[in-house]
Symmetry: C2
Subunit: 375 residues, 2 copies
């Protein structure tokens, strides 16, 4: 029953593993491209797969509103609908609903909210979130939680974390165990170590197939994020995958892998690709910058993606200036390639027992580009 | 010297041929996808090639303004810039410049106009148009002409046609002959048979590697277009390719091939793809239509494109409703596949001597869809 997780190697706190689901396996540490509305934006599924991605993320909030979970189920589930035969993790919908602000009302039962699309009223409870994720046929289902905002008073963070614990319990009860399908709990507690510890221990007592760390990368900064991971990750079981939600830039990923995280998702490679920003080993390049206009070089020498093997920086600069769709298509492809190449190298370094040296070297290199990574 | 054209078979007035250029051959009748600004919108070059396209069109007007012909030349020419190693035909820039209306001034020397991008003043003469197309490294260069507007008085059509003849002469003088590179003249004269005849004869006297019929599909309607082709095409040399500019819908192409046309270009498959319209053998489908929302069928059974082999109409409907870029990507791909499949079938029918039956059957089928083809 449930998803499987095999720990293949360790180097310090960094882990090399393999996640097994109903729709196949994913090597960890893994980065999951975000397929918000049933598509990794500007990419065909085969192109996503070509980058090396093995698991993608879908957003319950977007899919429940459009085309609706029931319709996706009627059409054979999300894998078939979006032509992604591999593993899919869906979030609970909570994060997007909470960010609706005035448009939502939250209490112990759940959240009532208005759709950002047509204003129609919807409700999301732990039970309904799990039902939706079942209908989508997610390999990994996330419990409904409240992603505590930041900055936050301790009292509010405590109340929010306890609310999420109650919802985690209800999510567990609502989840139907099936071979290859897993349910992940989400540790909350903001930047308060004792709240994180309380959350982690209570979730482990309930028992989940994996554990996510939520409520980070919400403005607290990388140093505070790493400190919170230091205080949290060691409380999670060694034999279950650990997922840092919504993170992050390449150097965030390096730091989190060093602290024992196995899974990541983030919109940055796709979103930044659409606006002309390219990730490289030496930091980020803005392809709209006029200095690329006559540059015959590829974005990055040695990168195997079509943007680098077939086109010049000058051409990419032209595409973005001309507002051509091929610009976002190529840069999304490149950025996802960059992320998957990074994950592949991370996995190889851990396997080879040279993780610390690799991490140090790569993190230093990322700081040499023309756009410094955000703090 | 020049481009080559081999006539392989004839069936009635329909011709089956092969165009040979410096960058390879193209089987005719051929449809050229439009790569306006150095990209067939929403498509990677490999995807364009996968549809069966062998030659694409580039727009001098767009490329001269951005990134500029000189920059494209510096970067190795348009083939390398846009990663299209096959034949490229460029238009003269005239059509777009004429449509600028208030923003341009025309006299015998050429056109002075303001860029639609930044308002900067540019000029386009026959000599400059040819120079730009040389710089782009176009396999087929088009003479600068004035695309006569419609409706038009006979006197104005005559004056415009004579202006274009003078420019054709100057274009010929400016063109540097090289092996595999050709220059095409353009017949004008609106819907006046004697003007068309005068234009065609004068162009043949000047001597070109191919002959285009311009100034059609500008509002005169399909019947008038076919009538004008009937009056014009027989005046063109049998041993040179004939190109009907800016045409058209599938049934326009069927009618024009029947009248001896070998080459076509049109933005319809790409432009309509971006707005959710799919070409099928039974007419056009609007994928935004709510009746597709739960339809598990592909756009068209038997179509080999990824939109049809991998996805449902329901998914495509979802992508367009959600404003996802993958919608335009997939429908552009499908529409180009539809056009290239049509051209392949046209070529096979002419070769097999069953052109008349094929044409009748396909033209009738196109009228059965949910959007009737435009008149």
């Amino acid at each position: 029953m449930s998803t499987g997780f095999e720990l293949l190697a360790r180097d310090g706190s960094a882990r090399r593993g393999r996640l097994a689901t109903a729709h196949g396996t994913a090597e960890t540490p893994a980065f999951m491209p975000v397929g918000t509305a049933g598509t990794v934006k500007a990419m065909l599924p085969d192109q996503v797969r070509e980058t090396g991605a093995e698991i993608v993320l879908g957003n319950t909030y977007h899919l429940m509103l459009r085309p609706s979970a029931e319709r996706v189920a009627k059409l054979g589930g999300l894998h078939r609908f979006m032509d992604w035969p591999g593993p899919i993790l869906t979030d609970s919908g909570g994060f997007q609903v909470m960010s609706l602000g005035q448009l939502r009302k939250l209490d112990q039962r759940g959240v009532v909210f208005r759709s950002h699309i047509d204003g129609a009223q919807h409700s999301l409870t732990p039970e309904r979130s799990i039902e939706i994720q079942h209908l989508l046929d997610a390999d990994i289902t996330m419990v409904l939680d409240e992603c505590t905002s930041w900055p936050v008073e301790r009292r509010a963070a405590e109340k929010s974390m306890r609310l999420s614990l109650g919802w985690a319990e209800r999510s567990k009860q609502a989840f139907r165990a099936r071979q290859g399908y897993g349910l992940f709990g989400i540790v909350q507690g903001s930047v308060f170590d004792d709240l994180r510890a309380e959350s982690a221990k209570a979730l482990v007592d309930i028992g989940f197939d994996g554990y996510a760390v939520g409520g980070l990368a919400v403005g607290e900064g990388q140093a505070e994020m790493f400190r919170t991971l230091d205080a949290t990750v060691h409380l999670l079981p060694q034999d279950r995958p650990r997922y840092l939600m919504g993170v992050g830039r390449p150097d965030d990923i390096l730091g989190a892998v060093a602290r024992g995280i196995d899974m990541f998702d983030c919109v940055l490679p796709t979103r930044m690709g659409r606006t002309g920003k390219a990730f490289t080993r030496r930091g980020e390049l803005n392809m709209r910058n006029a200095r690329h206009a006559e540059d015959p070089r590829p974005i990055e020498e040695g990168c195997a993606c079509p943007a680098c093997t077939r086109f010049s920086r000058a051409y990419l600069n032209h595409l973005f200036k001309a507002g051509e769709m091929l610009g976002p298509m190529l840069l999304t492809r490149h950025n996802l390639q960059h992320y998957q190449d990074l994950m592949r190298e991370i996995r190889a370094a851990i396997e080879a027992g040279r993780w610390a040296a690799f991490r140090e070297e790569r993190a230093a290199l990322y700081l040499t580009g023309d756009i410094a990574p955000a703090a």
